[in-house]
């Protein structure tokens, strides 16, 4: 279990000081995968460096399994860092050491016996499915294999928390998927708590249980993935499930974007809506998928009607949230605007 309390990090510059983290609070349960997302410059990498104590926070606390890491003196910080395994960006292996030697690095630093070290390295290579690549140098491995070695190295000292700092950045989609599947599997097998720092929404959708949106050094939204997606006011929820690209609607219609997170919605809601309002409802785009165990539907529809309140009520009755995307019904009244859909 890891919790961040009122974490602040400021960087002093010659003329001013920059507040990179501005009071971060985050609780992650044991065995949970939490993702911190945000645009570049939001403070993601500073947050990662404060969690694994590569940077000392200016104030606030990082508590891992009941130990406040920020309260430790410099020489105990080494032990503190060992309770968190960090997976860095894809290329951060030592180029002159073999895969096995890279994995052995934290064990060598801890000065464990050679026998113990070799046994652990073999076990870890097996764990990440690269038992036969121990003697390969990083340049002889693919990006995905390098990242697996990075994960194995992060696990070497059996940490309770794994911190992934943009670990899948720069990997192709298939490799990203396999690395994420491995993280998810490790969580299941070892009960690891995982914090994913990422700018990729796909990564969050793929494995996270919990997500937090970081903007300008603050967490502006945070919650379980299912809750975020059900919450109609959640910007994070919406960006987790972007609407598919829609056809252009005909002039004189209202375009609605609708979404639902539930398996109780009548699959035939479009014809029901059409029947109730007595007008054809055109489907412009739609997607249904399962995310965090929840069936999620998104659609863009056009309706030749103007009574928005009634549509809203009807949709809500089906368990669907809808909002008007664009409205060109006025164009029928003011013909000179035709074409400005």
């Amino acid at each position: 279990m890891i919790s961040l309390k009122e974490l602040v990090k400021t960087f002093d510059r010659s003329d001013s000081s920059h507040r990179a983290l501005d009071g971060i609070n985050l609780e992650v349960e044991r065995g949970e995968i939490a993702a911190v997302v945000g645009p570049s410059g939001a403070g993601k990498s500073t947050l990662a460096r404060c969690i694994n104590m590569l940077e000392r926070p200016t104030s606030g606390r990082v508590i891992v399994d009941g130990t406040d890491l920020t309260a430790l003196r410099e020489r105990h910080l080494r032990d503190a860092r060992r309770s968190i395994g960090t997976v860095f960006q894809a290329s951060s292996l030592l180029s002159r050491k073999t895969a096995a030697q890279n994995i052995a690095l934290p064990l060598d630093f801890l000065e464990v016996t050679k026998k113990e070290r070799d046994a652990r390295v073999a076990e870890l290579l097996e764990r990440v499915g690269l038992a036969d690549r121990g003697d390969s140098y990083p340049h002889e491995l693919s990006g995905g294999q390098r990242q697996r070695i990075g994960i194995a190295r992060a696990l070497a000292l059996r940490p309770s928390v794994l911190l992934s700092d943009e670990a899948t950045s720069g990997l192709d989609p298939a490799t990203t998927k396999s690395v994420l599947a491995m993280l998810s599997e490790l969580r299941d097998d070892l009960g690891l708590t995982i914090i994913l720092i990422t700018h990729e929404m796909d990564v969050v959708r793929e494995v996270a249980d919990r997500a937090a949106l970081l903007e300008d050094g603050r967490i502006v939204e945070e919650g379980l993935l299912g809750d975020l997606m059900r919450d109609r006011n959640s910007a994070l929820g919406r960006s987790l499930l972007p609407h598919p690209t829609a056809h252009r609607a005909e002039v004189g219609t209202q375009v609605w974007k609708v979404q639902y997170v539930s398996d109780h919605v009548d699959p035939d809601w479009i014809s029901r809506l059409s029947g109730e309002i007595g007008a054809p409802v055109t489907l412009l785009a739609a997607a249904i998928e399962t995310t965090a165990g929840q069936p999620v539907g998104r659609a863009t529809i056009s309706i030749p009607a103007t009574d928005a309140d009634r549509i809203d009520r009807l949709l809500a009755g089906y368990g669907i949230y809808g909002e008007i995307e664009s409205d060109s019904t006025a164009a029928l009244v003011e013909p000179e605007l035709t074409g400005v859909a």
């Binding site: 590569l54 960090t86 860095f88 960006q89 030592l94 002159r96 690095l105 630093f109």
Partner: protein, 223 residues
């Protein structure tokens, strides 16, 4: 004064002891330079803004001293530190007297080479070592110096060649070695054979050092 040219068959007798002296000078100097310049370079890098323990108050004077050592032309430096040389070796001529100024000139030179080699190691490498629980000493040896090794070998090559050159300069003021022979026989007595032979030896030495240095550096670099 007429030029007396040393016959070719007498050249080895003259040049081999000189070559041995040059190799001794450069060898001893390089051992001292690497063993003293490396820690200095490590300090220069790690007290700097991107180092493991940034200390501007240590870095600035250190950097200043390193620059001072390199800003004097070698001939001037050699003359300047004669009292120091005499203090250490008790003499101002011969190869041991040349080793002192060569080492003094070589250390800051190599320290800067080490510093720039360490600067080229990606900062993520240091982060990885820190996050893996390494002590400062472990991070420096396992991550920084180990990753920089090919660049360090290239630096030793460069430095060795510079020291060969310095040994020839030192030779002009009586340090012995190939440089001394070149100046006393080749230059002052217009002995063309000796002149050409010393030039040939220096060229071959530099080529050998460069070739082996490149080979080793390439071998150490994985991918």
């Amino acid at each position: 004064m007429l030029a007396t040219v040393t016959p070719i068959n007498e050249l080895p007798e003259l040049l081999l002891p000189a070559l041995r002296e040059t190799l001794t000078m450069v060898g001893v100097v390089m051992v001292l330079v690497v063993s003293l310049g490396t820690p200095l370079g490590v300090l220069l890098h790690n007290t700097g803004p991107n180092g493991l323990f940034p200390r501007p108050r240590v870095n600035a004077p250190l950097s200043w001293v390193a620059n001072l050592g390199r800003s004097l032309p070698f001939l001037v430096l050699m003359a300047t530190i004669i009292p120091f040389t005499r203090l250490i070796t008790g003499t101002t001529i011969g190869i041991w007297a040349a080793i002192v100024p060569m080492t003094v000139a070589g250390i800051p030179f190599f320290a800067r080479i080490v510093e720039s080699a360490l600067r080229q190691v990606p900062s993520e490498v240091t982060d990885v070592a820190r996050a893996s629980g390494g002590s400062t000493r472990q991070i420096i040896t396992h991550a920084q110096l180990s990753e920089a090794l090919p660049a360090l070998v290239a630096g030793v090559t460069l430095n060795t060649i510079a020291m060969l050159e310095y040994s020839a300069i030192a030779g002009t003021i009586g340090a012995g070695g190939i440089g001394f022979v070149a100046i006393t026989y080749g230059y002052q007595r217009f002995d063309t054979n000796v002149m050409l032979a010393t030039v040939l030896i220096l060229v071959v030495l530099v080529q050998i050092v460069q070739f082996s240095g490149d080979r080793i550096a390439r071998h150490l670099k994985k991918g």
